[in-house]
Amino acid sequence: MRPSPKATLWVVAYFLLVLAPLLLLFPQPRPEGREFWREVSVALGFAGLSLMGLQFLPTARLPFLANVFPLDTLYRFHHRTSIASFFLILAHPLILFIYNPNALRLLNVLDAPPRARAGTLGLLGLIVIVITSVWRPRLRLSYELWRVTHDVLAVAIAALALYHILNVNWHTSVPRQRAFWIAWAVVWGAMVLYVRVLKPWMMLQRPWRVREVRPERGQSWTLSLEPEGHQGLPFLAGQVAWLTIRRSPFGIREHPFSFTSSAAERDHIAFTIRELGDFTSSVGDIMPGERAYVDGPYGTFDLDQHAGPGYVFVAGGIGSASIMSMLRTMADREDEHSVVLFYGNRNWEDVIFREEISELEGRLNLKVVHVLEDPAEGWEGEAGYITRDVLDRHLPQDRRERVYFICGPVPMIALVERSLQSLGVPLSQIHSERYEMA
């Protein structure tokens, strides 16, 4: 699959936005020329700040972006471009100080002019946000504390940086450059309002009620929700939603989960959640009748957008949640496409949906290959990981024409993607979804 025209348009818009302050520097009139390295340093700072400001968009879960690009890719893109923006911004003072060591006095926040103070404080904030985000587990920061710190710092850094460049007032004295930054900052502010005010308010208008909390194999629970006073939520099999339960949607505790139920069912939605720590460990305590809020659906990991002559699903552990939604949807639609499911688990007892998958083998044109990491004695199926050999043994003749959906932990996805490529499956037919997002 080539990138869709919509995706291509967004990528072009992305480049124009990030590079706009640099492109706007070129045309006449320009402020008087300064030293070469000073101008390089300022231009890098502009690019860094523009890229940093862009970060307000991918994580806002804007439907027009989140339904064009895979969600996990958007979040990984956010992580990596944030770090890139940090280094571009850091290059700004570093080059200035190397070129002109006297400028180091600007770091003294007591004596420096306000515009320099704002720049220094913004940079310090940026260092804190990068350290706490990259090393959050090592610093043992709770998700909530990190999230509040991250959100407050992001707004503060953007405000300080904007104050800095508008008050240095060199290139920003040119009206087009100044107008760009003010307009860009308005977009950042709008994103914050959308995420923190408008979206929670919209969720509040469409509450859900817990219908059932059902234990599953492998320390997992299926949570079924029914709409309360609204029509429910149409979604595509494979998509995800953010779930808020026992809390206000204006809070910060929300968690992404794949829909597990069939997309053909409209009276309820279901999520299957494995106990992995934090919120997930308390899912079993949730009682029927409790209120929940759902933000979604999001994502492009779905059957309908990537239809093919046949499918291969590869699931690892709880990654089967989204695959299960696909299988259930196919069964409800009486879909006759051929499907091969490779399903990796630690042991036979942990195989979530084991009985239902076996039943679906009778209803669908489905072949299931269980792969157990730690099988009991006497296991005659595949053992170990879903390797190239395992895939090669069970993939049908038309393997190069099929569409592949892989969902599971990152190492499994990497291994399966590499193996499929070496078996001649075009990369464009492989769609993956990693667990890690937030």
């Binding site: 320009r30 300064r34 993956s432």
Partner: protein
Amino acid sequence: MEDMYARRIELLTILLAVALSLAFAFVQARWPG
């Protein structure tokens, strides 16, 4: 696959940012104002 495209876009962003910064500084030095 999508992640591979994303990585290319990220790399291109950095390269373009650096190249345009150098180009602008050169233009300013050569044709000030």
